[in-house]
C-alpha cells in the first residue's frame, strides 16, 4: 500500500516540484531588491520581497509598447497557425493511404531543413514582396503552421473521426470546408487547444524573426526588448528576472487556461462539459 502511495503521489509530487522549480526561482529572483548579491543558500522566498524591479521595467524600455506589439503579433499568428495546421491536417486525413505516406515523407523532409538555412535568404523574399519591417514576416512561421509536427498532430487527431461520419455529412449535403469546420474541428478541440498553446508559446517567444525582419524600434516585440535588459548592470538580476517573468507570464497564463482540458484525466469529458450549452 505504501509503495502504491509512493508511486501515485510522492514520486509525481517530487517530479512536479523539480519542474516547477525553475519558474519558481525566476519569480523569487524578480522579487529581490536591486543591488544585493544573490543569496548563498537556497532561498525559497526573498527576505524583503519588492516589486521595484517591475516598476523599473517601463522606465528602461518601452515595455507596454513592446508588449502590445507582441500581443498583436500573437493575436494574428496563433489563429493563422491553427487555421493552416488544421486545414493541412484535414487534407492529410482525406488522402488515400499511399498518398498520405508520400505527404508524410514530404513533411519529414521539411522537418529536416535547418532554420538557419532560411533566415537570411527569406529576407530576399520578403524584400521582393515589400513587407520588410511589417508584421507579415512574423506571420511566415504561422503560414507554415510553425512546424510540420503541429500538422501531424492534427492529422493524427482527425484520424479519430471515422470515415462514415465524413460520408454521412457528405450525404447531408455538406461541402468539405463545411465538414472541416462543423464536423471535424469541433471533434478535435483538445488538439486545437494543444496547437494553440504551442503556437502561442512559439510566437510569443519568437526572437529571431523580429530581430531579422523588423527594423523600426517602434514595432519590436518583447523578446527583443528583453535583450536590451540583458546587458545592463550585472547585479540587476531582479530586473532581468522581472523581464523574464513578464516574458513568461502570458504563456503560463494561456497554458493554465488550456490545461483544464488538455491535461485532464479524460480529455473528452472535460471537453464535453465545456461544449454543453
Amino acid at each position: 500500500m505504501v509503495g502504491r502511495w509512493l508511486g501515485r503521489y510522492v514520486l509525481p509530487a517530487l517530479v512536479a516540484a523539480l519542474f516547477v522549480a525553475p519558474l519558481w526561482f525566476m519569480v523569487v529572483g524578480s522579487l529581490r531588491p536591486t543591488g544585493s548579491p544573490p543569496p548563498r543558500t537556497l532561498e525559497l522566498w526573498p527576505a524583503e520581497p519588492t516589486t521595484a524591479a517591475y516598476a523599473r521595467l517601463p522606465e528602461l524600455v518601452p515595455l507596454f509598447r513592446y508588449l502590445a506589439n507582441s500581443a498583436l503579433v500573437v493575436a494574428l499568428a496563433v489563429p493563422l497557425t491553427v487555421l493552416v495546421a488544421s486545414l493541412t491536417g484535414f487534407g492529410l486525413r482525406l488522402l488515400s493511404r499511399p498518398a498520405r505516406r508520400r505527404a508524410l515523407i514530404g513533411l519529414l523532409v521539411l522537418l529536416l531543413v535547418p532554420v538557419t538555412a532560411v533566415w537570411a535568404t527569406r529576407f530576399e523574399v520578403f524584400r521582393l514582396a515589400g513587407v520588410v519591417d511589417t508584421y507579415l514576416p512574423l506571420l511566415a512561421p504561422a503560414a507554415l503552421a510553425v512546424s510540420p509536427f503541429l500538422v501531424l498532430l492534427y492529422a493524427w487527431s482527425f484520424g479519430g473521426v471515422p470515415d462514415s461520419q465524413l460520408q454521412a455529412a457528405r450525404l447531408e449535403g455538406a461541402g468539405w470546408l463545411t465538414i472541416w469546420r462543423r464536423l471535424a474541428l469541433p471533434q478535435v478541440k483538445p488538439a486545437t487547444l494543444a496547437v494553440a498553446v504551442l503556437a502561442f508559446t512559439f510566437h510569443w517567444a519568437n526572437f529571431i524573426d523580429p530581430l531579422l525582419y523588423l527594423t523600426s524600434g517602434d514595432r519590436y516585440t518583447w523578446p527583443l526588448g528583453l535583450r536590451f535588459l540583458l546587458l545592463l548592470n550585472p547585479t540587476d538580476w531582479p530586473l532581468l528576472m522581472a523581464g523574464s517573468v513578464v516574458a513568461t507570464a502570458p504563456c503560463v497564463l494561456v497554458f493554465l487556461l488550456a490545461q483544464r482540458v488538455l491535461l485532464a484525466d479524460d480529455p473528452l469529458a472535460a471537453l464535453r462539459s465545456k461544449g454543453r450549452p
Binding site: P37, P38, A120, L214, T215, G217, R227, N233
Partner: protein, 407 residues
Amino acid sequence: GCTSGDGKADRPGITVVLFGDAEEVAGYRSLVDGFTDANPDMDVTLSPVATQDELMARLTTSFAGGQPPDVFLMNYRRYGQFAGQGAIEPAQSYLDASSAIKESDFSPRALDAFRFDGQKLTCLPQNLSSLVVYYNADLFQAAGVATPAPGWSWDDFLAAGKALTGDGRYGIGVEASIARLAPFVWSNRGELVDDENRPTTLTLRADPAAREAVDWFLDLQLRHRVVPPDAEEQSESSEARFLRGTLGMYLSSRVAVPTLRTITGFTWDVASLPVAPGGVPASILHSDAYCMSAGLPDHRPAWRFIEYAMGASGQQTLAESGRTVPSRLDVAGSPAFLDPAKPPRSSQVFLDAEPHLRATPRTATWARVEKEANKLLEEVFYGRVDREEGLRQLEETVRPLFTPAGK
C-alpha cells in the same frame, strides 16, 4: 535599390541601426529626436539591437537581402569585414565637403582606426574609450595603500593588488581577453601581431617583450592570485564585485561608468593603466563609428544624420549619458563630459590616454581572430590548461584564421 522610404518619396527617410543596452538606446533615441527636431523634413527609423552579435545578424541579413540600412553603428574591430567587401560608402569625401564638421574636430587616434586603407576615412567614429583602472578609494585607504598616481608602474599596480587581496576580497578584476591583454603588451614595447597591416599570426610567444607582458598578465591569476579565480569569476563578475565593494581595482573602459555611478556605499575613481617597467604608456582604443551602406542611390540624407550626430550638439547628447568619451575633442574637454559633479572625479584620465591609444588590426578577419583567441586565453588564464601548451595552442588554432577564407 533603397526601398525603405517606400511611398514617402516626398519625405526622405533613413534607417539607423545601432546597438546598446536599454540606457544607451534611450540616449540614441534622444539623439534622433534632436535630429528630427532640427530637420523636420526627415524621417528617421531608429532600429536598435542589444548586442554586437545581433547587430551583425541584422546587417548581414539586410545586406544579403538587398535592403541595407542607411546608417549603422559599428565597432572598429568589426568594420574591416564590411570595408573589405566594399559594403561601406567611404566617408572621406563627404567629410571633406562638409561645412558642419571637419576632420580636425576629432581625435586623430579614433579617426585613424577607421581608415581602412590607411588613408581615406571609411566611417566616422562617434566616441573613443580606453582601458582604465577603476579603483575603490575606501579600500585603498583602509589597506593603507597610496591611490594610483599618473605614470604608476606595473609593480605599484601588483603591490596594490596584493595589499587589497584577502578576506574574501580581491585586488584586481580583469577579463581574460586579447583586448585587455593588448595594452600591457604594447606598454612593454611588445607587438600583438607580426605585421600591423597584414598580420599573419599572433606573436604572444615569439616576441620576447610580448611574452613577458603575457606572463605578467597571467601571473596576476596563476601566481599572485590577486584576481578572482575561475569559480569566483563565474559566480560573480568583476564588475558586480566592484559594485559590491569587494574588489579593489577593476579594469574596464568608459562603458562601466553609468553602472558605477549607482554606487553609494564608497568613493571610487579612475586611473590610467600602469606602465611597464621601462616601457611606454599605452592603452587600447574602443570606438564605434557611423557608417553608410554602399550602393544606396542617395547618401545625402544619411550624411545629414551623421553630420548632426557628430556635430557639437549631437555629441553633447551622447556625452551626457556618461557612457562614452566623445570623439569630438571640444565636447570631450567640455563640462558636458568632464562634469565635476559626477564621479569619477578624474575623467581627465580618459583624455590624457588619448595620445597613447592604439588600435588592434583592422583586417576583415580580425573579429574572428579575437573571438577565438579570447576563448583560448581564458583557458590559460584560469589555469584550465598548461600555460605553455595553452599559448601554443592559442597561436596555432588562430593562425589559419588570419588568411581570409577562400582566398
